[in-house]
Symmetry: C2
Subunit: 330 residues, 2 copies
């Protein structure tokens, strides 16, 4: 796969949310490929931003603490870049059930502030947006392709859907070239580990490293397509480098459906983790969409991308990362 990655040497890029989980992995990959990388991150407390995430490229990325809702900051941030990777956002779907306004303000209004900045100051830049498979809601049939109905089950997912539609619209109406991705459950190094409200696999990893019991909800047979973050970064880079991806919506998922039980069992076998079945809370149940895995044939066909990292390998790398750097994340 690395052979298919477009060259980024000398390319000027902006990564919003670049101190966060996927954003920082992306920023590091871009620096390694020779890009000139500018990161903006609002570093909101409780969110995913962690400056330690960018340690491997310290001094080789320009980091500005700025909020995508700040029009003046965004006007500066988009200046002279060729690609904008838009990853900043409110990511906590549980929070969105009790307080819907951060999603509206950050994910919808903030995305619009960013797109307005591009429209006025740099309409020629490419945009890649990372939405969520939650934009689909429950799967009517499996695997879920890009033309499936969108019935998002929470404000967070609605805000991602709206943001993607907004970026698509700036393409139609204002000619800004965007690609809208819908990511499935991403896991790996550099995700925040202080609370359990982001990725479930990373939370399982924390519990394993803490020697705590991993709760597997229901009977553990619910299916997801978990994807290792490096594979996700590869998909984002390919999307940014491809004309075929302009104006297009693409699923980025693990391809192979896997049960939560299988994740727990793998962590048990490679790290001695304990796990046990646990009942669904009412709140969790209301948000639980049942089996879900993405059809990734469109991105394979268009960009030649497919997941490379088996679950066991990805979990081993994730465990190793957090064993090493635990003090920066716990």
């Amino acid at each position: 796969m690395p052979s298919t990655t477009p060259p980024f040497a000398g390319t000027r890029v902006l990564v919003t949310g670049g101190a966060g989980f996927i954003g920082s992995n992306l920023a590091i990959a871009l620096v390694e490929r020779g890009a000139t990388v500018r990161v903006v991150d609002a570093m909101l407390p409780g969110y995913g931003g962690n400056l330690f995430n960018l340690e491997p490229v310290k001094g080789r990325v320009a980091v500005e603490v700025a909020d995508i809702r700040d029009a003046q900051a965004m006007a500066r941030a988009v200046k002279d870049v060729e690609i904008v990777f838009h990853l900043a956002g409110q990511m906590d779907h549980v929070l969105s059930l009790t307080d819907p306004f951060p999603d509206i303000d950050i994910n919808i209004r903030g995305t619009t502030v960013l797109m307005e900045a591009l429209k006025h100051h740099n309409p020629g830049a490419r945009v890649v947006y990372t939405g969520t498979r939650g934009e689909y809601g429950s799967a009517d049939s499996l695997p879920v392709a890009e033309d499936a109905p969108t019935n998002p089950r929470g404000l967070h997912e609605i805000s991602n859907l709206a943001a993607a539609k907004i970026i698509e619209m700036y393409g139609h109406v204002h000619g800004i070239k965007g690609t809208m991705l819908r990511l499935s459950n991403i896991y790996g190094p550099r995700g925040q580990m202080r609370h359990s409200r982001y990725g479930v696999v990373n939370w399982f990893v924390r519990l394993a490293l803490d020697g705590a019991t991993i709760p597997v909800f229901g009977d553990g047979t619910i299916l997801r397509d978990f994807l290792y973050v490096d594979d996700c970064v590869e998909a984002i880079l390919l999307a940014a480098g491809s004309d075929a991806a302009v104006g297009t919506l693409l699923n980025v998922g693990g391809g192979e459906p896997t049960t939560f039980r299988e994740v727990a069992e793998t962590l048990s076998s490679i790290a001695g983790a304990r796990w046990a079945f646990a009942p669904f809370s009412a709140e969790r149940k209301a948000q639980e969409p049942g089996d879900f895995y993405s059809d990734v044939s469109k991105i394979r066909r268009l960009l030649g991308w497919q997941p490379q990292t088996p679950l066991k390998t990805g979990l081993e790398r994730t465990l190793a990362y957090y064993r090493e750097s635990r003090a920066r994340y716990w």
Copy 2:
């Protein structure tokens, strides 16, 4: 059709945007059916609110000038009502191309403020939301049914789609019973007439009454399903009174596809209006989705509703209304 309308005698209802075009017609119909009607309208300059719209029910509706973005005002407004008709919104899709923020703030955030008020203060109330056929964007095939893809072409239409998804979500997650309507091109008495950025048919009526030439864009053969406002009100009332409509999305359209040229010709025959072909402006072209008419078989099946008013009759009534009350609208 009136025989199928549910009785509203003694029912306490709230109409947001109730001084606007459809909202005021709805409020009047509700008063006539014996409902206790509370109207809130922000009366924003340049929007559709006009207190003269409520003249026929003066003293028989409680009108509060309040904004749906005001949480305290909404907490008061939803108190003790059994049905909330949510019609308030930013309606100008041309404005949304240059300034996307009013749509986000009013239509998305405002709708959420209203739904939070219901969640906290009156979760048992029914909600009926009036979105737009613009949520679909261009028609992939005709007529357009409720399960068609949604590819809205402007921020205004995206904001309506998001608002509908939000109301649907408050149903799933918080148990609030909502019905989401998608209205096609509504025309008739009580629409604002100061600018041309709302309904095209009402604007044609103004031009006819002004003795100005009606511009028919392109070759005039683009199809729409125009619907007279009384028929629209009937659909809204039926939706509010039906358990079958809870959690459901319903098209409300004219049923019969009609060309813009036919509208102009009808106005010519009944009011001596002049009309002429006119070229599309670039901006109008970018927003023009081509032929569009809704499939209204779902609402017919579920609620027994169908359009009753022929175009000629609707235009005659509209002309008569504005001839009479022109000074209040021009």
